[in-house]
């Protein structure tokens, strides 16, 4: 981030005048400075004379240290990068600067804006200039900044023979390899890299191949998502990628696809899907889209579904065949194909009505319907999905096919064969971690030792690095130049925010040197610049600057290809495969292998934020589990002991066994062929009966301190390794598995013990039809229907009046004075929230929230300021269904609710704090004065939402394994991690209560900014949308809206006028400023199992609803018009 200060040359007058200078550059350019420098540093002056600011600062760092220049200057990257939109006039200490960049990924780059404080990247935000994501990001992107400061990352390159290598020596490995293989045309040289969308890398690889044509360039991704493209290539003969436009889709059928959370492009898909579910009032309810999900795992997409069918992943081909047959017969498709498909689908046990009605609904909405197949499914399913989309007239409307650039890379299998044949004598492993995550049937660890000299370029000294001959430290993407493309091809930059913390080499530099690019041209900046010039078709500096500033290159997306998929091709596909569904049972299980919410494929294994953030569905932190269905659990005899209140019929049984709040998981043994893996079993409602779901990325044997579970006696890794089940042919599914229960018990840190809402009106749900009839259904639920907040004679006043005057209905108690011009509030739309966890990590990153470690999570002391509550509902009520009350739901609906401090206007936490540490400010924020807090914890007890978090230990200061040793324990290594801390937010010590502040630091920054602009005018109100809380900013579906509730024109006020707006526990008269928009489901009543009401609502109505007492006072279903009468 070196900035060029274009100050005019000092005039003669200046030179003789008083000694002022505006920047170090100017000082360095001052002739008097030269003289002084020579006197002061006779030996170093020659170096400084170059006038290079960085060199200058290096020399002068010590003397300028007190002025604060040395600290900020020493980490400046050398090439000039440009800030994103909000550029302060100069670097002002305390004012953050934002730069556009992007996070590299196998299929797509996620466009980012990175917040930096004095050249330290502290917070990742999405880049709103990329319309597809609208500023949204995911948890992985949010947490990636922590990896930059990982104290366990590789700091030095090293070779087995020579020991530690300098950066230059490490570069020499690549340069020398190129030189050595030029005569052999690259024969014997192989490179295994991660997949990438970077055009610069592709260009360099092409150059490498040109110069060393015999080199094997292979790419490997453990979470493979190439099937959709491979199927299209086979069908249409071109390299195409399907892009779905879910915002245009009214009916969506998902075949085992988790398009809101894990599929490539999920941020855009989630965002587009949510657009079809953003309903403000009941009049718009008819617009809502409908999602049919068929899946084996319980994914977040399944959680959003209006109809969810549990089916094994191995049954998807047969299911797709039957569904395609159904649809094609409606559209009059080829009879031959239908016959083939019906034959292929025989043997699959499925509710025919489900198929028919679903197909009919899709067909009725053709042109606005789409079928989405999961990337892990075999090619034939994708072929059938494309055929169905063609039949549904989806092409060009809800799905488009875009032309991808050609790539030329071998698979890991090809490379393995070459190594096996002894053809490779030097292997470069660029990134990835094949020893840990390569398909088990390749036995990479053994293979690698046969590959001659192995050079490993990696970020951590991991499993692959252990046996490599040379290890070369990699830079983080926040330290390196790069570029890439989003899913739809938009060209985005990767800018370094900081000079490499350690002596690393970037990927582009490594490949460039391998490709023999001249040393002076092999700098990241120059490489990217050259590619940009080619892609943008201009060498204009301004165009390049603009690209860096905005972070996206307009009109660079992939071109849409028109393709007609011939039915004959599909027939070939459909007929040629064995698609028949195998019967699954307890002794013939299928293992579905999915990326983990914590570690993805293992790469985030040493990232504390991701490890601690609970998995959205099973709520486990720090571990992965053998997720089994309740049906399988029953057959294995693994059900939990009934919990205490079952005799009374008031509590639903817990799915898993808990002892004093800790999940006691039985260890099970999974066996496929000769491969045996042991792991703790977790009962997960909603799974297909005989599918066992395993997540990747745990059980790392060589990892850092976060990935190591020090609770276990011999410091073993967290979780267990699933890669032994991953094969080259079938990376995400293993069949014919057996399971055996052992006697061992393993404790798991589960952050949510109880799965049922117990009929309480916490998450309020309605079906669209129901909602249209009873728009104010939310007011008919919960205690509020009997005892609404007490506004007295002000009941009918506007929301804006209520938030500023705080009427108490004649109560004598004094209330805080809300005199601020602007009153802050929040609205969370439960209908669009997918439960993706991004807000949890964004909040952690913004607010310096510490991780506490597995042991503390087991004790229930996680510190997240925002949490996602997950409830299952099956519509059963224990007292109504005595015989079923013991059951764990096999096929429930799931709902999520993000819960953070609600900033109650009449906050119960404030009245009980004896020291005035938590009080209201005039803007309606419930603020914490950390200095005042003595830690009585009374506030947390009195908080009905339990959102307050207490620092039981010095989590920031003390190593998580040394907490109980008190002052004798070791302190954290914070040399790097403290650089991530947001300087605008206090780092809390032990004994202090903390909680969500609505990102008060962002509010204050915006207010100060506005007041500065306003000067003496009255225009001091911050414009709506200027302040985005961290959770709001990250949310890809814009479920969270924050703003001024005293102004009726703001977005948040508009949201709160919705008829679905309600306060959780509103009857307590505490008047939370965060309110929720009720969740909606849009079932098709013709479908089997369709319910008049969502299941959670059924539970409420049966247990506490009005129906039970005769509807004499405003029964929601009897007389919607009486809604007013209630208040």
């Amino acid at each position: 981030m070196k900035r060029i200060f274009k100050h005019p040359k000092p005039t003669d007058n200046d030179v003789v005048g008083p000694n002022y200078w505006r920047s170090p550059d100017e000082l360095a350019g001052d002739p008097r400075f030269d003289t002084w420098l020579h006197q002061e540093f006779p030996s170093g002056a020659a170096v400084a004379e170059e006038g290079d600011r960085r060199t200058f600062l290096k020399l002068m760092g010590a003397s300028f240290g007190l002025a604060g220049l040395g600290l900020s200057g020493c980490r400046m990257p050398k090439k000039y990068i440009l800030p994103y939109s909000k550029q302060p006039e100069n670097m002002i200490p305390g004012v953050s600067t934002y730069y556009a960049s992007s996070q590299p990924g196998a299929k797509e780059h996620i466009p980012l804006v990175v917040e930096t404080h004095q050249a330290r990247p502290t917070k990742i935000e999405g880049n709103p200039s990329y319309a597809g994501f609208g500023g949204g990001t995911n948890g992985y992107a949010q947490a990636s900044v922590l990896d930059l400061y990982d104290p366990d990352r590789a700091r030095k390159s090293a070779s087995k023979q020579a020991g530690t290598l300098s950066r230059g020596a490490a570069l020499d490995e690549f340069i020398a390899a190129h030189k050595a293989y030029v005569p052999k045309q690259g024969k014997g040289l192989a490179i295994l890299a991660e997949a990438s969308s970077s055009p610069t890398r592709a260009r360099l690889v092409a150059e490498l191949k040109k110069k060393l044509p015999q080199t094997i360039w292979a790419e490997y991704e453990p979470v493979d998502s190439s099937n959709p493209e491979a199927a299209l290539a086979a069908l249409a003969g071109k390299r195409l990628r399907p892009l779905y436009h879910l915002d245009r889709a009214k009916r969506i059928l998902s075949l085992d696809a988790d398009f809101v959370a894990t599929e490539p492009g999920h941020l855009k898909y989630a965002r587009d899907f949510a657009k079809g579910r953003k309903i403000l009032n009941s009049s718009e309810a008819g617009k809502m889209n409908r999602l049919y999900a068929v899946e084996s795992n319980f994914t977040l997409t399944g959680g959003m579904a209006d109809h969810r069918l549990r089916a094994a992943t191995s049954h998807m081909p047969a299911f797709a065949a039957l569904m395609a047959a159904e649809l094609l017969s409606m559209t009059g498709g080829s009879q031959e194909l239908i016959a083939v498909l019906k034959k292929q689908g025989t043997g699959l046990k499925v509710d025919q009505k489900w198929l028919t009605e679903c197909a009919r609904d899709l067909y009725k909405n053709r042109g606005e319907a789409v079928v989405f197949a999961g990337a892990h499914l075999p090619l034939e399913v994708h072929a059938l999905a494309y055929a169905m989309n063609q039949a549904l007239d989806a092409e060009g409307k809800t799905v488009t096919y875009v032309q991808l650039p050609d790539v030329d890379s071998a698979s890991i299998t090809t490379l393995a064969e070459a190594i096996e044949a002894g053809q490779i004598d030097q292997l470069f492993v660029l990134g990835g971690n094949p020893v840990y995550n390569a398909p088990a049937d390749l036995d990479w660890a053994a293979l690698q030792s046969k590959a001659g000299k192995v050079v490993r370029w990696g970020y951590h000294e991991d499993e692959t690095a252990v046996d490599a001959d040379v290890f070369v430290a990699a830079t983080h993407y926040l330290e390196s130049w790069g570029d890439g493309r989003t899913m739809d091809g938009v060209y985005v930059p990767v800018q370094p925010m900081i000079l490499p913390l350690f002596d690393g080499i970037s990927e582009l530099e490594a490949v460039a040197h391998l490709a023999g690019v001249a040393f002076e041209d092999a700098q990241g900046y120059d490489l990217v610049r050259a590619t940009f010039n080619a892609i943008a078709g201009t060498a204009d500096q301004l165009a390049f600057d603009r690209w860096l500033t905005e972070g996206v290159l307009p009109e660079s997306e992939f071109k849409v290809a028109v393709t007609a998929i011939a039915p004959a091709n599909v027939v070939k596909f459909a007929a040629g495969q064995a698609m028949a569904a195998q019967v699954l049972s307890k002794d013939r299980l299928e293992l579905r292998i999915v990326p983990s919410y914590h570690t993805y494929d293992g790469r985030y294994n040493n990232n504390g934020w991701l490890m601690e953030a609970p998995d959205p569905l099973n709520k486990l932190s720090w571990d992965n589990a053998v997720c089994i269905s309740p049906q399988l659990a029953e057959e294995l005899g693994l059900l939990a002991n009934p919990i205490k209140m079952d005799r009374d019929g008031n509590l639903r049984m817990n799915a898993n066994q808990f002892d004093t709040g800790r999940e006691q998981a039985k260890i099970v043994e999974l066996q496929v062929g000769d491969t045996v893996v042991k792991g703790p079993a977790h009962i997960q409602p909603g799974l297909a009966d005989y599918t066992v779901v395993l997540s990747l990325g745990f059980g790392r044997t060589v990892t850092g301190r976060i990935g190591t579970d020090s609770r276990r006696p011999e410091a073993r890794p967290h979780g267990f390794d699933v890669y032994p089940f991953v094969t080259a042919a079938s990376p995400s599914l293993a069949l014919n598995a057996q399971i055996k229960v052992t006697d061992e018990v393993y404790e798991m840190a589960n952050t949510q013990e109880h799965w049922s809402m117990e009929g309480r009106a916490i998450i309020r749900e309605a079906n669209v039809e129901d909602y249209e009839k009873h728009p104010k259904f939310v007011d008919k639920m919960g205690m509020e229907s009997h005892s609404p907040p007490i506004y007295g004679k002000h009941q009918d006043k506007s929301d804006q009046f209520k938030v500023t005057e705080i009427p108490r209905g004649g109560s004598a108690y004094e209330t805080p004075e809300f005199t601020g011009e602007q009153q802050w509030g929040m609205s969370i739309d439960l209908n669009t929230c997918t439960g993706c966890n991004a807000c949890v990590i964004a909040c952690q990153s913004e607010n310096n929230i510490p991780i506490v470690g597995k042991d503390q999570v087991l004790r229930g002391r996680e510190m997240h300021w925002i949490r996602l509550d997950r409830y299952y509902s099956d519509g059963l009520n224990p007292q109504d269904n005595k015989e079923e009350r013991m059951q764990i739901p096999h096929d429930p609906q799931v709902s999520f609710m993000g819960v953070a401090c609600m900033h109650c206007e009449l906050a119960p936490c404030e009245s009980v704090c004896p020291v005035n540490a938590t009080v209201h400010d005039q803007d309606g924020l419930n603020v914490m004065a950390y200095n005042r807090c003595v830690g009585t914890r009374y506030c947390a007890n009195n908080c009905p939402y339990k959102v307050r978090r207490f620092n039981f230990f010095d989590y920031n200061k003390r190593d998580q394994n040394e907490l109980y040793k008190g002052p004798l324990g070791e302190k954290n290594d914070v040399t790097t991690t403290q650089m991530q801390k947001n300087p605008d937010v206090t780092v809390r010590m032990r004994g202090v209560m903390e909680k969500c502040t609505y990102c008060v630091q962002r509010i204050q920054e915006a207010k100060i900014d506005q007041r500065t602009k306003a000067k003496d005018s009255a225009n001091v109100n911050v414009k709506d949308g200027t302040i985005k809380t961290a959770c709001q900013q990250v949310c890809p579906v814009d479920a969270i809206v924050f703003g001024d509730v005293a102004d009726a024109a703001t977005e948040v006020s508009r949201m709160k006028t919705s008829d679905r707006d309600y306060s959780v526990l509103g009857y307590l008269n505490i008047r939370p400023r965060t309110t929720y928009l009720a969740k909606l489901r849009n079932p098709n009543m013709a479908m089997p199992g369709a319910q008049q009401m969502p299941l959670s609502r059924v539970e409420y109505e049966n247990r506490y609803g009005h129906a039970s007492h005769g509807g004499d006072h405003g029964d929601a279903h009897a007389s919607p018009s009486s809604a007013k009468a209630h208040h």
């Binding site: 808990f658 503390q856 004896p914 807090c933 009374y938 007890n941 039981f952």
Partner: protein
């Protein structure tokens, strides 16, 4: 002091012959026709005699036990509150339970000294001194917990946080918080109890001083006696001051536990937010206080041979108070359930059903059996006369009252409004040691008390003996 037999206010004295009123003499407060000298010798003898071996043994044990609290607190302050079993959602655990428990214990002393004094219940005289001492020691034990349960006790103790003092930012404590009320209630109670106890001891300290044969005793008791000379003027001032302090303490007996109950009642948590708490807590406190008085006095009576001073009559009286307050507490338990049902608030209803049948049901049923069922045995005279049984039942009462506070504090917190945040609280070894250590601290202080200070008010006992009554021999059925 009108005599019934000779009462002129009865219109027709002959009626007495007709109805033949039963001759029911007041039971003697000091049995076996002991004289004043015996009383002085007996009580002073405890202090003046040779230190018994058992005392040394118990004292060593107590100090050892008390060190658990010390070690526990040092570890706590050095490491963080995390060494206890607390977590979200149960942010108050054993510390607050122990605080309420000890404060409750401390109730009997002042009740006996103040309320029974005002009500002229003369049987209080032989037990009030020890009960008052017990109160003070219990308040000391109680006071430890609210201070050390805070996350940053070094600030909690600093004026300007919990103690009102103007600081540089002119921030005062938050006077709406029940915890702030606790600060005032407990400190006032502690102060008045110490004053009352010490002032009541002055005449006896004078006696000990006068009898002292060793120099250090002369100085020790001489300073403590503050120049008490038994003059009429001293006695007049003493009696007036005693009466005033009794009057001052009486509302405190009710207010302290009322305010402690506000810690819960003023919150909005189902199971805490209950208007019945103040009377129910006071009843419970007296209940546990008397339990503790009997627990302490029965062994003392046996060891020191105080049978003539603490008579069966005294024991009966205390058992009956335990029976009455135990029944009140039982009524309160029932009423809580009734109101939860009658209020038709599902959260409230759940909280109470959950107490009885939920994950902490074991604690609830311990509480019910100890607090409601066991004192009912005191209906039977046979049981009241079996002192080892009385002692065991009093142990149950104390145990039950600890569990009552545990049930109220923890079950309500563990399962509150949102099932997503439900949890389970269990103590750690540090919690357990710190609590049991306070019994050591309590016994240490109590052992020092019986060794160095007069266990019973000599002067007051003499005042309720027949010899003190100039008209003592006037007919039978005389009311004292």
């Amino acid at each position: 002091m009108a005599s019934a037999a000779s009462d002129a206010s009865i219109a027709n004295p002959q009626v007495l012959n007709k109805v033949k009123p039963l001759d029911m003499p007041r039971r003697e407060l000091v049995e076996n026709k002991r004289d004043f000298h015996w009383v002085t010798e007996k009580i002073c003898g405890i202090v003046e005699g040779k230190t018994p071996i058992w005392w040394w043994f118990l004292f060593a044990c107590s100090i050892f036990l008390a060190s658990f609290t010390g070690i526990g607190l040092v570890y706590l302050v050095a490491s963080g509150v995390g060494v206890w079993g607390l977590a979200n959602p149960v942010n108050w655990g054993w510390a607050i339970v122990n605080f309420v428990f000890w404060i409750g214990i401390g109730h009997a002393g002042t009740l006996i000294s103040a309320i029974l004094c005002l009500l002229r219940q003369k049987w209080r005289t032989s037990i009030n001194r020890a009960a008052e001492a017990m109160t003070i020691f219990a308040v000391i034990c109680a006071g430890i917990f609210p201070v050390f349960h805070t996350g940053r006790p070094w600030f909690a103790l600093l004026p300007g946080y919990l103690l009102p003092a103007p600081n540089s930012n002119w921030i005062w404590p938050q006077f709406r918080s029940p915890l702030e009320w606790d600060v005032f209630a407990v400190s006032t109670y502690g102060t008045v109890s110490v004053l009352f106890w010490y002032m009541g001891m002055l005449p006896d300290l004078g006696v000990l001083r006068d009898r002292a044969k060793v120099l250090w005793r002369k100085y020790f008791y001489g300073i403590l006696a503050m120049g008490w000379r038994n003059s009429n003027r001293h006695w007049r001032n003493y009696e007036m001051a005693y009466l005033l302090l009794a009057g001052l303490s009486t509302p405190l007996v009710l207010s302290v536990h009322t305010i402690v109950s506000f810690d819960f009642a003023a919150s909005n948590l189902p199971g805490w937010h209950t208007t019945i708490f103040p009377p129910y807590f006071v009843a419970g406190a007296i209940f546990s206080g008397f339990g503790m008085v009997l627990t302490l006095m029965l062994p003392l009576r046996a060891v020191y041979g105080l049978h003539d001073l603490i008579t069966q009559y005294h024991i009966d009286c205390m058992c009956k108070i335990i029976l009455a307050t135990g029944t009140m507490v039982g009524y309160a338990y029932a009423m809580e359930f009734f109101i939860a049902w009658y209020g038709a608030n599902p959260y409230e209803g759940f909280a109470f059903v959950n107490r009885a049948f939920g994950q902490y049901a074991w604690a609830y049923w311990i509480m019910i059996s100890c607090n409601v069922i066991s004192p009912q045995l005191f209906w039977f005279k046979w049981i009241r006369e079996r002192h080892w049984l009385v002692w065991i039942i009093c142990g149950f009462v104390n145990c039950g009252m600890w569990f009552e506070r545990f049930v109220i504090t923890c079950t309500s917190l563990a399962n509150d409004f949102l099932p997503s945040s439900w949890g389970y609280y269990s103590p750690t070894i540090v919690d357990i040691f710190t609590f049991f250590g306070t019994f050591g601290l309590f016994s240490t202080l109590f052992l020092l008390f019986i060794r160095f200070l007069p266990l019973m008010p000599i002067a007051e006992i003499k005042a309720v003996m027949p010899q003190a009554d100039a008209h003592g021999d006037h007919g039978k059925g005389e009311h004292h």
